[in-house]
């Protein structure tokens, strides 16, 4: 480690989102109500390039907070507005909130975007964009994907997908292109200008049907064609696939992560690309660790990959002994500092860590 800072949130979170002004947002996912959405100001040491040791300001500050009766499973800020959208069980509707730090420090609930609730629907996955009007892409199942305007709550697009598979992730590749990832691993590309068409990407290697998948897309890279960035997929068995969206018929790379088996389920599977380090990605959700990989050494053989770094901090936190070891619920890369990550676990811990590059690279 170059640096490691541990914090304890009042309640565990399963999301970490960056907001305007270098703010970080976390939210509780308890089933019995009283969940808090917290927008935090990170300590200055996280924002500076130089790592300071005994800097006086080492704490996160709660800038504002809101109360949610529902567990908050997903949260996305709506760009260019002071709104954010959340989703969570028991249904696939979305809640819209307003953050206004000038008048008060309470995040107020403003509206709900209702969706038709069919049977077997779980919570909606969401992605936001501000193209013309602020919009949110959401859906819990492949055949229920839609784009809704946040302010007017008007539906502007419904994907013509067939199949009732549960979605594990979705994203805007640009203002017209959507990427959908099903829990089965199936990847679909859609163009909202051509509602009827749908492009399938490669499936994943055939596997026991209980295996679940999630995806990670690279965002933030300026000037590059969004579809030129490889999409990574991670399975609950530890399989990793990289796919180039321009050549969806084959895998760019295939690897296997060393994860404990049997897996502890796919609830918190998380994979993400490093915004400032080419080819690096991180995975978590199997146990109390976060793995960082350099994918540039991967090929299509599917053999086991060696992580560049493993963050084990959460496994050693808090109450040991009889309690179940904490599970990492989410991780997130720092947007500017190349080797800094934030990770949260089911025991309420929040870590900020920076690893040292092993010799050879820089």
């Amino acid at each position: 480690y170059r640096d490691l800072h541990t914090f304890e949130l009042h309640a565990p979170t399963r999301l970490i989102e960056w907001a305007r002004g270098n703010r970080v947002c976390v939210a509780g996912y308890g089933q019995s109500g009283g969940n808090e959405i917290l927008q935090l100001i990170p300590p200055p040491m996280l924002l500076t390039k130089e790592t300071q040791g005994l800097c006086p300001e080492r704490d996160f500050k709660v800038e504002c907070g809101g109360f949610s009766e529902r567990p908050v499973y997903s949260l996305k800020y709506v760009p260019d507005t002071s709104l954010l959208v959340t989703s969570g069980p028991p249904d696939s509707s979305l809640q819209v909130w307003q953050v206004s730090t000038e008048d008060s420090d309470v995040i107020k609930s403003v509206s709900t975007i209702a969706t038709e609730n069919g049977t077997g629907q779980s919570w909606a996955k969401i992605a936001t964009i501000s193209a013309g009007a602020p919009r949110v892409l959401h859906g819990s199942r492949l055949d229920r994907v839609q784009i809704t305007e946040v302010e007017s709550r008007k539906n502007v697009y419904t994907a013509a997908c067939r199949g009732s598979e549960e979605l594990s992730d979705l994203a805007f590749l640009d203002c017209n292109t959507l990427l959908l990832c099903c829990a089965t691993g199936r990847l679909c590309l859609a163009d909202i200008r051509q509602p009827q068409s749908l492009v399938e990407a490669t499936s994943v290697p055939s596997a026991p049907c209980s295996e679940q998948w999630c995806m990670g897309t690279r965002h933030g890279a300026q000037g590059l064609e969004p579809s030129s960035q490889p999409v990574a997929r991670l399975s609950s068995r530890g399989l990793l696939t990289l796919t180039d969206l321009r050549k969806t018929s084959e895998f760019l790379a295939l690897a296997k992560a060393r994860v404990p088996s049997p897996g502890s389920g796919a609830e918190f599977l998380c994979i993400s690309w490093a915004p400032a380090l080419e080819g690096y990605l991180a995975i978590s959700g199997f146990d109390g660790t976060v793995h960082v990989y350099d994918t540039q050494s991967w090929d299509s053989s599917g053999r086991e990959a060696e992580p560049i770094f493993v963050h084990k901090g959460h496994a050693f936190g808090g109450a040991g002994g009889s309690r179940d070891p904490p599970l990492v619920t989410v991780h997130m890369w720092h947007l500017q500092k190349p080797r800094t990550l934030l990770s949260a676990a089911s025991d309420g811990s929040l870590h900020v860590w920076d690893w040292v590059q092993p010799c050879g690279k820089c």
């Binding site: 009042h10 005994l54 006086p56 080492r58 996160f60 500050k61 709660v62 907070g65 929040l350």
Partner: protein, 610 residues
């Protein structure tokens, strides 16, 4: 400054006619009168001694007691000042130290003198933890352990059944030498809590300690010297224990020194106030003195010139004078050395200057000192965060919460959080604002023995767990409240008792003679028409639950019928032979039964009765 908000704590509470001042702090950032609280708020005219019933000081930090000598000696207050024993012992030391900087170093004139500090402390009454202290007949106070620093306490102020708890600064997590704050379920009407760190999610103590040890270790490894300026008491002990454990674990050889005089004084106070430290220390203290360290030795001035690495704890804490400044001057020029500032430094001190980034300092005699040594700052202050505040509220169960903080920050979110979780009202006034809290006081009332005996003789046996409704007259005379039976009240007031009797006329169609009508009524009432009418209401004065109708309804020789005290007489109608008039008469006390009978008779008599 260094990210810390050091305000001047001073709160005035008016409870049940008593006025209590909580803390009397000084603002360290100002050099003029703004550093003291504005005492004109208390009372525009009249003496403070007459207006205030007492003053309570929570702990020895200057932002809580710094203005006390000014207040008591320069503004003028001669009433009692309450604080815990350790606070009373340590306060004057810090006040004197601060006075020295302000007057001697900065040349201020409008400041309290050493004699004033002494005179002020003479007015202090020291209290023990959990000891109820009667300030006067009605006002009592009790101190609770607050953690934070040695001797810090939270105070409960009680007048009759109304109470307020003031927390001062407190800490809900124990550290190496102090325990965590604790209070019982005292259910005060109001809990006043500090909330400076309420919106903070703190870096874990382990990380801070790890970084501190890392810095010290790195410096010592490269042969440098580490200077840690400290106050005699407080975080110094915490850091000593930390370093000692680390040195032991890592088998380090570099010497650690503690200023002479400091060790003895600290040891003396900790031995004196051992009950104020945490469990672990108390346990081990019996076997060996926790504050006699294996690796930490007493310092001698000459050691500062020794070659090689070392760590020195020296007073005073802001590098403003004395030994720590001397050592600093010797070591400042070497970049291998390090100075770690342990806390807030007052403006004007060397500590403050180097923390602000100054690297060239002007010393006495116009000498310029170049600071090449590393300057670090650390904050190990022990305050409660939002989680801690919630914990304390959960422990004490107040009816209302008031949060005090220096900045006029909006903490709507915390307010809602408290209100939602505990269903209490939460207030956060700005400085200078007055908040009014409504309470439901219980007023004790004496009940006369006669009334008590009479009321318990009626109705079912009184149940200790259930409230019992009684009827009496409340007499309020001078300052006493008495509940007596009405007759006695009338007697005492010299008023004659009047009886009210109501008579109602019920017309019945019956051509027969009056006494026959009367008999009809009697038989009708004797038959079971009392269904649905609770026995206890019919015969409130009888204990029996069942009705004995023979006893209840009586036919008197003169033809009238009585139902308890209610009299029914049948009389002839003056004009109409076929109508009889029943006169139903009852006293005011039997209104209920009287009304019931009247409405019953209005329904008419059954034809079948003879």
């Amino acid at each position: 400054g260094a990210g810390q908000d050091v305000g001047r704590s001073c709160i005035l509470v008016s409870i049940a006619g008593k006025n209590v001042m909580l803390d009397c702090g000084m603002h360290m950032g100002y050099n003029d009168d703004r550093r003291f609280p504005d005492f004109s708020y208390i009372t525009q005219n009249g003496r403070l001694t007459d207006f205030l019933d007492c003053v309570i000081i929570s702990h020895f930090h200057l932002d809580h007691c710094g203005a006390l000598p000014y207040f008591s000696e320069m503004v003028g207050y001669d009433g009692p000042i309450y604080m815990t024993h350790p606070t009373k012992a340590i306060c004057p030391i810090l006040l004197e130290d601060y006075r020295k900087i302000t007057v001697d170093k900065k040349g201020e004139t409008n400041f309290f003198t050493s004699q004033m500090i002494k005179d002020c402390m003479k007015k202090v009454v020291a209290v023990h933890l959990h000891q109820t202290v009667q300030v006067d007949e009605e006002l009592e106070i009790k101190a609770y352990y607050a953690g934070h620093v040695l001797g810090a306490a939270m105070f409960q102020i009680k007048v009759g059944c109304e109470s307020v708890v003031y927390t001062g600064d407190y800490n809900m997590t124990p550290d190496r030498h102090l325990g965590a704050a604790w209070i019982d379920k005292c259910r005060p009407d109001l809990l006043i809590s500090e909330s400076t760190y309420a919106t903070t999610i703190r870096d874990s103590k382990r990380c801070r300690e790890r970084d501190f040890l890392k810095k010290v270790h790195e410096t010592v490894e490269r042969g440098g010297k580490v200077l840690i300026p400290v106050f005699a008491l407080g975080r110094a002990q915490e850091l000593c224990i930390l370093l000692e454990t680390f040195w032991e674990r890592m088998n380090l050889k570099a010497p650690i020194y503690f200023s002479t005089g400091l060790t003895e004084k600290a040891n003396h106070y900790y031995k004196l106030f051992i009950t104020w430290t945490n469990q672990k220390i108390r346990k081990t203290f019996v076997q060996r003195n926790m504050f006699e360290f294996k690796h930490i030795k007493a310092f001698d001035r000459a050691f500062a010139d020794n070659p090689g690495p070392m760590v020195v704890f020296a007073t005073p804490g802001m590098l403003h004078a004395g030994q720590s400044l001397q050592i600093f001057r010797k070591w400042a020029g070497n970049e291998k050395n390090m100075v770690i500032m342990p806390g807030y430094c007052v403006q004007g001190t060397v500590g403050h200057k180097i923390l602000s980034g100054q690297r060239k300092l002007e010393m006495e005699g116009r000498q310029i000192l170049e600071v090449k040594m590393q300057v670090e700052y650390m904050s190990f202050s022990a305050h409660a965060d939002a989680k801690g505040i919630m914990q304390l509220i959960r422990q004490a169960e107040p009816r209302n919460v008031l949060l005090v903080h220096g900045e006029a920050k909006k903490m709507e979110f915390l307010k809602q959080k408290i209100e939602q979780e505990f269903h209490v009202s939460c207030f956060m006034p700005a400085n200078g604002e007055t908040t009014t809290i409504l309470t439901n006081p219980c007023i004790p009332v004496d009940i006369s023995l006669g009334l008590l005996k009479r009321e318990t003789a009626i109705g079912p046996v009184p149940d200790a767990k259930k409230p019992k409704l009684m009827h009496g007259t409340l007499l309020m005379k001078d300052n006493s409240f008495r509940l007596v039976c009405p007759e006695q009240a009338l007697k005492e007031l010299g008023l004659a008792e009047h009886q009210l009797r109501f008579t109602c006329r019920v017309h019945i169609q019956d051509p027969r003679k009056e006494h026959e009508t009367g008999l009809r009524v009697y038989n009708h009432l004797k038959g079971g028409i009392w269904d649905g009418y609770p026995a206890s209401q019919i015969i409130p004065k009888k204990k029996k639950k069942t009705l004995n109708l023979d006893y209840l309804v009586q036919h008197l020789p003169d033809g009238s019928i009585t139902v308890e005290s209610i009299l029914i007489q049948a009389t002839a109608h003056s004009e109409d032979q076929g109508t009889k008039v029943l006169l139903v008469s009852w006293t005011y006390q039997d209104e209920e039964l009287g009304s019931y009978l009247t409405s019953l008779l209005k329904k008419g008599l059954p034809q079948s009765t003879p």
